[in-house]
């Protein structure tokens, strides 16, 4: 069975998905929409994509289209989800759903009523290390879990203009870690405490944002979790996880660029890790997209639902509240 799809938004992440989708034997990319599609004309042609448009409604109005891949800016997500639901299209949507819980709840309602599939773009669930770790925890390899640590650091802070519209550290960056914590723990978060500061770039204080954070989560099952975030680690992208339980611990180390060790008179050296998420998660993005395709073809549940998107967003919002109040905040699950 071959799916006909349209990609909405052809920026960095949209192009990444297209690069995989165009080689997929079960996929026909019939459409791409982007406000800059004129500038991208050459690139679109090279990809062999049949049609391009500035208006994603052209895609949604095409009865041949089975599914859409939403890679446009966050503030467009909910409207596109609603429109896609109306047309009965399946949806892959990059995170987060939106920047406000109420909007996201509307999207959830639409998706549930329309009965379409929606997979959230939490790509890290599909990383070879984290998915193996999740399986091990699900199989109760460690018995009961006492604590979980997620270390997540970007190589360099984004431009302040980007940060201004990003929803802040928790919504833009930590949201991946909130999803990861839920994914691994298979339990809901009942309390958050977020401590943070603008230690890398003090200018962030002026826009009420931070670049360094330590977040403590408490799960319904009693387990504790700490998330360490920083917008800058000059040695490269750093994504690690460690879990402690009754029977021991499992830790997922960062990925390497190669396995070489250089031993010199002045020390032992290795190359820096893969630069950023595009390099680190290339394969995870492919597995993620394939999972979406399979869930449609085989009519199965998506591996990461809009409810998962909503829960992660809620944690992000509560963290922001905790940071402002300087106190832990409960989540009613």
């Amino acid at each position: 069975m071959k799916l006909t799809i349209g990609v909405i938004g052809a920026g960095r992440i949209g192009q990444l998905h297209i690069d995989y989708l165009r080689k997929h034997p079960n996929i026909r990319i019939k459409w791409v929409s982007d406000i800059n599609c004129d500038k991208l004309a050459d690139w679109i042609e090279q990809q062999g994509i049949e049609n391009s448009t500035k208006d994603h409604h052209d895609i949604l109005n095409d009865p041949e289209v089975d599914a859409v891949i939403i890679c446009s800016p966050t503030d467009t997500h909910v409207d596109i989800i609603k429109a896609a639901c109306e047309k009965g299209k399946h949806i892959f949507c990059e995170k987060p759903i939106s920047l406000t819980l109420s909007e996201s709840l509307e999207a959830v309602k639409c998706v549930e009523e329309a009965g379409v599939k929606l997979q959230m773009g939490f790509n890290r669930r599909f990383d070879r290390n984290f998915s193996t770790l999740q399986k091990a925890l699900k199989d109760r390899t460690l018995g009961e879990i006492q604590s979980l640590r997620i270390t997540s650091r970007d190589p360099a802070p984004p431009p302040i203009e980007y940060v201004k519209h990003s929803g802040g550290l928790f919504m833009d960056m930590s949201i991946h870690d909130f999803d990861m914590a839920r994914y691994l723990m298979q339990s809901e978060v009942v309390e958050v405490y977020a401590k943070g500061a603008a230690l890398v770039n003090p200018d962030l204080k002026e826009i009420n944002d931070i670049d360094t954070a330590i977040v403590t989560l408490t799960f319904e099952n009693g387990a504790l979790c700490v998330i360490e975030n920083c917008r800058r680690s000059v040695y490269g992208y750093d994504q690690r996880i460690e879990v402690l339980g009754d029977k021991g611990s499992i830790s997922a180390g960062n990925e390497n660029t190669n396995t070489l060790t250089f031993a010199y008179a002045d020390g032992i050296k290795q190359d820096n890790p893969p630069f950023f998420f595009l390099e680190r998660y290339k394969k995870a993005y492919e597995i993620e997209m394939n999972a979406f395709i399979e869930s449609i073809i085989n009519d199965e549940n998506v591996s990461c639902s809009i409810i998962d998107g909503l829960k992660a967003q809620e944690i992000a919002e509560k963290c922001k509240e905790s940071l402002i109040k300087g106190m832990p905040v409960k989540i009613n699950s």
Copy 2:
């Protein structure tokens, strides 16, 4: 120059110090005191220690004695410190000073007035990894620090009878980590938030104690710190540290028992780490004791003062308060 010393308390830790001191070329162990010194008679003779007593005052009254090593139970520390100050003896004291800040402040006052040297037994400062890390940070190898993580896990929880009189997780176990945080950061803690639970042994709830904790510290210099504690890690004693700063990160891994890797058909294996603190910190204890001896012989400042003991104790107390209140607590420095 040869120092004449007396050891007060010949339990596990007292015996460990004696084993090193008796081989030290500049040390004469003239006395040991212990309430069980009758039972220990054979062992004391084997060590070549000249005199033993049940009453540590016999040691303090001996004008030949230059210094005492206090390894008796915590609730005896302050009285012994006071008595030793009166007699002008230098003091090495195991952590913590006492279980209440007011008592410890009295001890501080005595020591300052007497002008004797007192070194606190924060042995981890002398670990080859952590002391090298501290030097690197002091040399500003990483520039400004954004965050620090200390992971500290015991192999197995102590008997509940011990726990009852231990002062609780923060005073008994985490206090080492509080000292380490101050030692590495060279800045004072201004706020603590402690989250914890009795996840390993739920019976601890009945005595208002916990066995798993995540503590967030905020330093005067703005840096954040997270301490992960657990009374049980079945794979062995686990003591690691990681620091993130402007110029990168430094992490101190756990120690190994050997460098062997076993590659079998069902996986790659290594032996568990050294079992507990006696094995892991054997060398650190020696360096620590040597530093104390050197500070007396050369009349230099001790490398870990009673003020350091007081500060760590204060953080422990505030953590307990934070845990009870469920809120962050400030420290006036």
Copy 3:
């Protein structure tokens, strides 16, 4: 520019190349030939390959075909190379060229006269670790080289029927390591000494083959090299290299399946490495094939020539001679 190609031989390795080539934007796979092409009909259709045949001459006779990928059994290589040269087709040929030097020399002559490009399938040159290592050595990162070690172990011995027609351990397995040694050292081998035995499967003695070998190579530049081979390492495929030179050493570790570490009460564990060459070198095969395509499109030298194939084969032959004679054997370069 788009190349039209034909794949000769659709066994395990042929299928692997096809899987990459069919997704390549500059490649049209017009033909596949295989003596079993009837059985493969479904698979060939799925791949979208236009034509299939039992006779590779059909491919060579097609004037549209620019290049052929030779993945058929070794004893067919030379004839196909000759025929392809006659038709002026560019050639990618799996290793080894043939099982006898005289035959391979004929192939070399044909290729040189025809002026077609021929790239040998020494895939390991394109491994991310080994290619980075080679670049470092070429840049004289280590200054002069004293010694090189190549460890190369297969997970399990092949069936004895395969071994009988394989040309023996040196020609079938070690030949990759001989090429790697030349590739890294950028110098020619002037002497070999091969020691080996049938330690895994003593039945190999009856067919005059071995499964375990230690080969010492001496290079024209004076450097020494040792190659450790074994047909079986039950923990998985193991491919490592270490170089020692004036300024230090560089070692290339084996690849991992994931970055997880499992710490249990009975030891620390990791998963076994990727099973065999298809898993380990998947990406290297793609880079290799892409290099071939680029060399044709841009009319550049191939990155691994038929002379490289000849040299590696010669070393293999001399090793066999050394093993039989029980003495080192010179190579006249």
Copy 4:
């Protein structure tokens, strides 16, 4: 029981042993002899050694002396062993016994006739990694062994004056590895092939010595072994072993100076390993000496006999012969 001992030779290695022995509860160091004992007078007094002499016969003539520790130059070993045997003293002797097999055989004869204990100073047998590895192999953890690799590199070549009288690379340096190979394999060497060159310091050619070698050993049990030696590895002392057998492999990595990892923008770094054998094998030297003391006190076999010394020396001699002839050489066991 307390042993009275004399140390013959108070150079670097003699001082190292004295430093341990003087703290040992069962040892009285009554004597030290050294041709430079005048210059060492202060040091000897500091150690609390009762008597010093230029003539080791003073020690051997003292009826109170139970055992001697021979740390004098190699060319004095055999005479001292003979004289000690005459006086019925137990002997600890640094490697090698002598530089010629015939002399060593005389020493063996004397020791056997005198019935004294003689332990050879192959300190690496007592390294925590190698002794654990040996135990694992003895317990047949790997089943039958196919191959063994020993990597052994010194940080820097010794002065050429030292080399001239050292007996050459095989007798001076590799002899440790020959002993290690026998110790691990629990089988005798039946053939050697040695390839080597003066690649670090070409001047060695003039004194017929080498600084880089690859030695292939064949064992009676069929297993193969390769030893990689170099007089210089600028990144520090490097001592590693790897064994491959039926059930997998065991590898012993090099030791580290600390467990720190420094992650910077320009790469990941660790400190160099412990500089040389004194640092790397400090603990092994202690365990070695303790084993000697225990074997006397408990009247047990020594853990490394003069026959072990003889066998290692024989392999070294055959390697020299192999290197000169350019051919493998058999050993009649």
